[in-house]
Assembly symmetry: C2
Homo-oligomer: 236 residues x 2
C-alpha cells in the first residue's frame, strides 16, 4: 500500500495514450499513489518540456524530482525502485531466462504491434489502412503463441500474477476493445485467438486494471476525432 | 575469465550485423568464451529457424540449450545470468535511476538512430537517401547530449567503465567509420560532436572491442554489395 515516498511520485500523462495507461497500470498494481497531471499535447507544459526534452512526449514519471521517460523504461524503473517494499509482486520474474522471455515479448509488442497500430490511426483512407490492419492481425496471431509460451497454461503472461508483458499489452486493451466500433472487426477474437480473448477478459476484471483502464466509449470518441483530424490534414 | 559454463554458450551470428557485434562485445567484455556459428542468411539453418521462430533473425544466444533472441534482450540476459561470477563489471549500473537513464538512451539509439540508418541502406537512389541521412545526423547530435548526461565527464556512457549504452552504440562503430567511404561524410565528426568522436576512438582502443569489432574495409565492401543488391532489386 501507499508508503511515505509515494507523495513524491508524479505522472505526466494524457487520457488517450495507451503508453500512459501502461504506467498507470503498473502504479495501480503496485498500490503506489501519485499525483496525476493531465497534459494538453497541443500546448505542452513547461514541466513536460523540461522533463522530457528529447521526445517532449508522455508518459513521464517524476520520482523525487527526477524524470523518467519512455513507458517501458518507466515500468522497469517502478519494478526496480520499489522492489521489496511491500508493493505487490515484481513485474519481471527473478530467473534471468524467464526475464529474457518476458522482455522478448514486450519488445515484440513494441516492434510488431504498435507501429502498424499507429499507422492505422494515421491512415487517411480505408485503402491506406488495409496493409497495417493486416500486419496488426498477424502480430496478434503471433502473440497468441507468446501468451502460451509465457503463461505455461496459467492465467497471465506473468503466470499466476500479472507481469511485465501483461502491463505492456494491457495498456492497449481499451483500444483493442474499441477496434470493432472503429474498424468493423474484433482485434482480439475468441474464435481466432482464444487464449488472448480469455486473457483480455480476465485482465479487465482485475481491480487494479478496472481502476485505471480507459473507458472504451471515450476511446472510440477520441480515436474518431484523431482519425478525422488526420484525414482533414491530408486533404488540405 | 572463461568458466565451466562457458562451453554451454553458442552465438548464432552474421559478420555484417551490428546487432550481432553488440553481443560479441558484451561476451568479450565479460571474458566469456562461446562457440560462434556464422549463419548464411540467404539459406537459414534449421538451428536458427528453431531457435528464433518468430523473427528468424540473428543474433541468437543459446545458453545451456535455451535460445535468447533480440540483441538488447541478449545483452540484459548476459548481464543478469553472469552477474557476480567474476566476469567483469555489470553493463547496467546498480542504481534504479541510473539504470533508467541508460535504458532511455539505449532505446533512443534503437528508435531514432537505427531505423533511418536501415533506410539509408535500403534506399535505391541518392534522393531517397537524403531524408534518412538527415535524421541520422540529427540523432547523432542528440546522442552527443546523451553521452554528456550518461558519462558525467567520464570516458564512457557507463562512466569509468564500458556500460550498456556503450555496447549498444559500440556494435555500430565500424559502420559509423565506414560512413565516409560509403556516403561521403563523417557520421561522427569531431568538429560537430567532439564528445562522441573522442568516445569512438577510446572505445575502439579497448582490447575487448578490438577483438570483435568488424574490419571497416570489410564493412565498406559488405555495405556496397547490399546497396547494389537493393538498387538492382528496385530496378527489376
Amino acid at each position: 500500500m501507499a508508503g511515505e515516498d509515494d507523495g513524491e511520485l508524479k505522472l505526466i500523462g494524457q487520457y488517450g495514450s495507451a503508453f500512459v495507461t501502461r504506467v498507470k497500470l503498473a502504479l495501480s498494481l503496485k498500490g503506489l499513489s501519485y499525483e496525476y497531471i493531465e497534459e494538453d499535447l497541443r500546448n505542452k507544459s513547461e514541466l513536460l518540456l523540461r522533463s522530457n526534452p528529447v521526445h517532449k512526449a508522455v508518459p513521464v514519471l517524476i520520482h523525487r524530482g527526477k524524470p523518467i521517460c519512455d513507458s517501458q523504461v518507466i515500468l522497469q524503473y517502478i519494478d526496480e525502485a520499489f522492489a521489496g517494499t511491500g508493493t505487490g509482486p515484481s513485474l519481471l520474474p527473478a530467473d534471468p531466462y524467464e526475464r529474457s522471455v518476458a522482455r522478448f515479448w514486450a519488445a515484440y509488442i513494441e516492434d510488431k504491434l504498435v507501429p502498424p497500430w499507429d499507422r492505422v490511426f494515421r491512415a487517411t483512407t480505408d485503402g491506406e489502412r488495409e496493409e497495417p490492419l493486416k500486419q496488426m492481425f498477424a502480430a496478434v496471431d503471433t502473440l497468441e503463441g507468446g501468451l502460451k509460451e509465457c503463461s505455461k497454461g496459467k492465467p497471465f503472461f506473468g503466470g499466476d500474477s500479472v507481469g511485465y508483458v501483461d502491463v505492456v499489452l494491457g495498456g492497449a486493451v481499451s483500444y483493442a476493445k474499441a477496434h470493432d466500433a472503429l474498424f468493423g472487426a474484433k482485434l482480439i477474437d475468441a474464435a481466432k485467438t482464444p487464449l488472448l480473448a480469455a486473457w483480455m477478459e480476465r485482465f479487465c476484471e482485475l481491480d487494479a486494471a478496472k481502476a485505471v483502464l480507459q473507458d472504451v466509449d471515450r476511446v472510440v470518441e477520441y480515436a474518431k476525432m484523431l482519425i478525422a483530424k488526420n484525414a482533414a490534414r491530408a486533404s488540405n
